[in-house]
């Protein structure tokens, strides 16, 4: 079975857990997934699925996950991961997906408006920083998942501190795009720009096909595709002149705003649907 199929089956079965067992298993799942980057991801997901199926069966027989599994799920996870084989390819995939995913989100929208040289170097450095920052955040979340609950700080305070720490860590990545100046600048107007956009779109198509559980949600995908289409249209000779007058600029601004609203709406709808599924 492929990793995506194992994850999908896991997602299908998890709603069958009661509240207490869901909390237990979710912590275990987060911990294992965030601390197993160097492990064979198929074997990791097979183990997670088998354990979930067993906890569900224990639940059917009136046994809680904690009673069945024991009081040291972290220790079990650590021992289990030690026994699984390493696989550097899985880790390399994570890095590449994060790097190119971020680059697609930030780079393609800047291609909507031609006429300015694009600092490719700044984007690449920003993507490298963001990749490391995201990996650090995810790893920290995983490592802290058991300690977080044991902490005596108030729940709201823990959440606020976590969000602040995340924002502080991620902010430099976005700042770099605007303030970092590198000599690697290129004009991506006209045909060259269209070619680069199409190349990016092809890369995204491959990404979408190979990473069903990828980092790009549908709303984000929609915004990226929309930006790419606008970027191509504004570079077509027949339409490139429109940006030279105010009306064309206003139309472009409205279209970009519209895309933002639609993406935000899709994100909120998705969040609402996910919350509804969780509550059920």
């Amino acid at each position: 079975m492929k990793v995506e199929d194992l994850i999908e089956r896991n997602n299908d079965l998890r709603p069958g857990l009661n509240k207490e067992n869901k909390e237990f298993y979710d912590d275990f799942l987060v911990y294992v997934r965030t601390t197993s980057w160097l492990k064979d991801d198929i074997q990791v997901e097979e183990q997670l699925l088998a354990i979930l199926q067993d906890i569900l069966e224990a639940q059917k027989n009136g046994e809680s996950a904690r009673d069945y599994f024991g009081q040291s799920p972290k220790l079990v996870a650590d021992n289990l991961l030690k026994k699984l084989p390493n696989d550097g390819v899985s880790f390399a995939k994570i890095i590449l997906y994060t790097f190119f995913g971020y680059l697609a989100i930030t780079f393609l929208p800047t291609m909507t408006v031609p006429g300015k040289p694009i600092d490719i170097g700044a984007y690449v450095v920003s993507a490298m920083y963001m990749t490391m920052a995201i990996l650090l955040i995810v790893r920290t979340i995983g490592t802290l998942v058991y300690r977080y609950k044991a902490s005596k700080l108030a729940g709201w305070l823990k959440n606020v501190l976590g969000i602040l720490a995340g924002m502080l860590l991620l902010f430099p990545a976005f700042a770099m795009i605007y303030w970092l100046k590198t000599p690697v600048r290129i004009n991506l107007d006209g045909t060259l720009g269209i070619f680069v956009i199409i190349l990016f779109l092809l890369g995204l198509a491959v990404y979408n096909k190979t990473a069903k559980q990828g980092f790009l949600s549908k709303p984000v995908f929609f915004y990226i595709i929309f930006s790419a289409i606008i970027g191509i249209l504004t570079r077509l000779p027949i339409l490139s002149g429109m940006l030279e007058n105010k009306t064309g600029q206003i139309i472009l601004a409205v279209l970009i705003l519209l895309a933002c609203f639609i993406s935000t709406g899709m994100l909120m709808w998705q969040a609402h649907r996910d919350k509804k599924d969780d509550d059920q």
Partner: protein, 113 residues
């Protein structure tokens, strides 16, 4: 078992026990757990089974195969390999020797006591 067995002691022979359970009938995680409860090892936290099964599979003592379960999705069932059966027989042999030795010690202690 009327008395709880120390976890250190259990660690030593859990592998042999799992092999014996799987020799009787191939089984999956929860099924193995229920068998352990049935033979008096209810105190063992069943989470410990999973790393042990992974170790045993890595060492070639057991092999896993996907089989349909009763009224549910396919499960990974484990069964002992030829190496696993050899390891189980070695374990039983060592246990019998140890049992004789321990019985002598216990009898000796009773006489002294």
């Amino acid at each position: 078992m009327a008395q709880t067995i120390s976890s250190q002691l259990l660690k030593g022979f859990l592998q042999g026990i799992l092999l014996a359970i799987l020799k009787r009938e191939p089984n999956y995680g929860y099924g193995i757990a229920q068998e352990m409860n049935r033979i008096g090892l209810g105190q063992v936290p069943k989470g410990t089974i999973y790393p042990l099964l992974a170790t045993m599979e890595k060492r070639g003592l057991i092999q896993g195969e996907s089989r349909p379960s009763e009224g549910g999705p396919d499960r990974k069932y484990y069964l002992p390999t030829a190496d696993g059966l050899d390891a189980m027989n070695d374990f039983f042999g060592q246990w019998q020797e140890l049992e004789q030795t321990m019985q002598l010690m216990i009898d000796g202690a009773k006489h002294e006591g």
